[in-house]
């Protein structure tokens, strides 16, 4: 039997040379006449070790990394094919501390299976959730999802079971399942990894949602900044259709379900659920006023379940193992696991799926290993460009929805961006306002006008123009945006601005004198 090698085709692995490694590997395998097959997988999410090459041995898989194309001849000369010694040998991936400490439920297959193989998917536990869902029926499904305590992983944290029940209870000629894969937050990549590494998991989750609420059509809205994810997922939908997983009779049942992939066009605000619906309808991505809720009147005016990708991709494991199993993880009202994405200036960046409850300090220092630059951590932005900056003295904050909210922050979609002590927090506050100005949909005044005024006010403060007066103006402006904006873009931009101002007031001192003082 031929020897099996595995190498990610995940965009982040490709970005650091995985395709070059694959090319060299194929050339060497052919030149040496070896009986070896190379499978391209998703990534396990240990990005400082990518490209991570794995070989299947009798003792399980053995990983090597980070591998370069130039390493390949020596790896083959040495013991790669038997899992033998090489300076880049990492041992069994499951035993690498970063992975060993995780509870992988949603990402259990990501980085292991061939994303285009339904056989691999089934062999690794896929479709069990759907099979149980088919026999449980709509009421049974919603009961399990509610019992699991699953909350929206896009950031708002709304209970998924309640959302589904609302759509199920609303009578309409058509209903839709919409997957929000418009993952625009800096520091997040969980959606992208799952789309590229385990696309059938999302397909399965969406079918289950369809059965639960009586919808037969699903849309997946993927941002255009993820061209690889769009390609992989589109191909997976095609494969699922041919295999009868999607179509008029899902797995031979009486349920029909089809999925259409839609690509965004570079508008961050389309990650907001109602703007996303407008965008699918072919309009400007402008936020809708609520009510009506999308659950009552969503896509094309029909009742719509719009969920974050991670929420939907977590449904199969909940149905397979039961709501109670999932709810056993976590603490307080934050049940289950969260794929935490550790990014930015960090030594061990990647995807860390764990039960809620670790402290921020444990995640950044123990798991992330501190900064990449080796300098002290100054700030961690949690939850993307609309999330607060946390200073090290708040590192005892437990990772859960309520604990972060109590510290004037949010966990958002699970991104954490680490900054070392060279960062200037006034310029980060300015950037938050600038980003909001660039991405504002323009529908409400606090966001559209406030963001531009915000940039100007920060500039005046750092230029030393009436700083005290302008700090008052900035605080007042943030209050207006927070309480007066229609959606989270304008409403949450104050989080990074105010947290920067609260925790790093010295950074807002006028520029010129500060530069002089530093010399």
């Amino acid at each position: 039997m031929s020897i099996r090698l595995f190498l990610p085709r995940d965009a982040a692995a490709v970005a650091v040379g995985a395709d070059k490694v694959a090319k060299r590997l194929s050339l060497e395998i052919a030149a040496r006449g070896l009986d070896v097959t190379l499978t391209r997988t998703g990534s396990r999410g240990l990005f400082w070790l990518e490209p991570m090459l794995e070989v299947e041995t009798s003792a399980g898989r053995i990983a090597y990394g980070p591998v370069t194309a130039a390493d390949i001849p020596a790896l083959l000369d040495g013991g790669l094919l038997t899992g033998g010694h090489h300076e880049k040998r990492l041992g069994r991936p499951e035993e690498i501390t970063f992975l060993a400490k995780q509870n992988r439920l949603t990402f259990v297959r990501c980085g292991i299976v061939d994303p285009f193989s339904l056989d691999d998917y089934r062999a690794a536990g896929g479709l069990k959730g759907l099979e149980k869902a088919v026999s449980a029926g709509p009421t049974g499904i919603i009961e399990e999802v509610t019992k699991s305590g699953l909350r929206g992983r896009g950031g708002a944290g709304f209970p998924t079971g309640i959302k589904w029940k609302t759509v199920a209870d609303t009578a309409a000629p058509r209903k839709f399942i919409v997957c929000n894969a418009d993952e625009g937050d800096s520091g997040t990549f969980a959606d992208r990894m799952l789309l590229e590494g385990d696309p059938f998991c999302l397909i399965e989750g969406m079918i289950i949602a369809g059965i639960a609420v009586g919808a037969t059509k699903g849309y997946v809205y993927i941002r255009s900044e993820y061209p690889d994810a769009v390609d992989v997922f589109t191909a997976a939908v095609e494969i699922a259709g041919q295999a009868g997983l999607l179509g008029s009779s899902v797995l031979g049942s009486s349920h029909a379900f089809e999925i259409e992939v839609r690509t965004g066009a570079g508008a961050y605000v389309c990650g907001e659920e109602t703007a996303l619906l407008e965008s699918i309808e072919g309009k400007r991505g402008q936020v809708r006023a609520k009510p009506p809720l999308p659950a009552h009147k969503g896509l094309f005016g029909m009742p719509t379940v719009i969920n974050n990708l991670i929420s939907l991709a977590t449904v199969p494991v909940i149905l397979d193992k039961g709501g109670a199993f999932y709810a056993d993880f976590g603490l307080g009202r934050s049940r289950g696991t969260m794929p935490i994405q550790i990014a930015g200036n960090v030594k061990h960046g990647g995807l860390f799926e764990a039960a809620f409850g670790l402290t921020l300090g444990e995640i950044i220092n123990d798991i992330g290993g501190g900064t990449l630059s080796g300098r002290p951590v100054k700030a961690v932005q949690a939850g993307g460009p609309l999330g607060a900056y946390f200073p090290p003295h708040l590192f005892d904050t437990p990772y859960d929805y309520e604990a972060f909210a109590a510290r004037d922050g949010l966990i958002g979609h699970g991104g954490l961006v680490v900054f070392d002590d060279t960062v200037d927090m006034a310029s980060m506050a300015r950037f938050a306002m600038e980003f909001c100005a660039i991405e504002s949909c323009g529908k409400c005044t606090p966001c559209r006008i406030g963001s531009t005024r915000g940039v100007e006010v920060v500039d005046r403060i750092t230029a030393g123009i009436e700083p005290e007066k302008n700090l008052t103006v900035l605080t007042d402006l943030c209050q207006t945006m927070k309480f007066g904006s229609l959606c989270a873009l304008g409403g949450f931009t104050p989080y990074p601005v105010m947290s920067a101002l609260t925790h790093y007031p010295d950074d807002f001192a006028p520029r010129a004198p500060r530069a002089a003082a530093a010399e």
Binding site: S186, G266, A343
Partner: protein, 156 residues
């Protein structure tokens, strides 16, 4: 990077007619037009409005709302540099400034020889191997000055 078609009304009409069969067809059609012509030609907008039974103003509103859609063709190559926070945390701003200086252009501009368009993007999901960029749709991580030089040398 593939070459683009010059303006061709029949071709545009084909794209619009075949795309208009789905619900909410506007964005998929605009993407398809840009893929073929390298931008969304102004001439195609009234055709699109007619096919979708909406006003020209409405189509104009949609095209101009989304950052992706270009009014005129880009250079032969497009380099998108990520400007978001994770890339900033590892020197993305400084790298962007040096790249702009090297090329002599700002974000949203094309070099005078038409070789390269530089664009800002906000997050490519490569935040654990930043700074990140997209060169003609190919992802690049841990980008530094040498990496930029290599990308520019490969671009003809």
């Amino acid at each position: 990077m593939p070459g683009f078609e010059p303006w061709n009304k029949e071709l545009a009409q084909d794209i619009i007619t075949s795309g208009a069969k789905i619900e909410g067809a506007t964005l998929p059609i605009l993407h398809a037009l840009q893929e073929v012509f390298g931008h969304v030609p102004e001439e195609s907008l009234p055709m699109l409005a007619h096919a979708l039974n909406v006003s020209r103003a409405e189509v104009h509103g949609v095209v101009t709302f989304y950052h992706d859609f270009r009014e005129k063709p880009a250079g032969r190559h497009v380099l998108k540099l990520c400007r978001a926070e994770a890339c900033q945390s590892v020197g993305g701003n400084e790298l962007a400034e040096r790249t702009k200086a090297r090329l002599g252009i700002d974000f949203g501009e094309t070099t005078p020889d038409g070789k390269l368009t530089l664009e800002a993007t906000y997050c490519l999901g490569l935040c654990a191997c930043a700074p990140a960029a997209l060169m003609d749709g190919q992802v690049v991580g841990r980008l530094d000055d040498a990496g930029v030089a290599e990308l520019l040398a490969e671009a003809r």
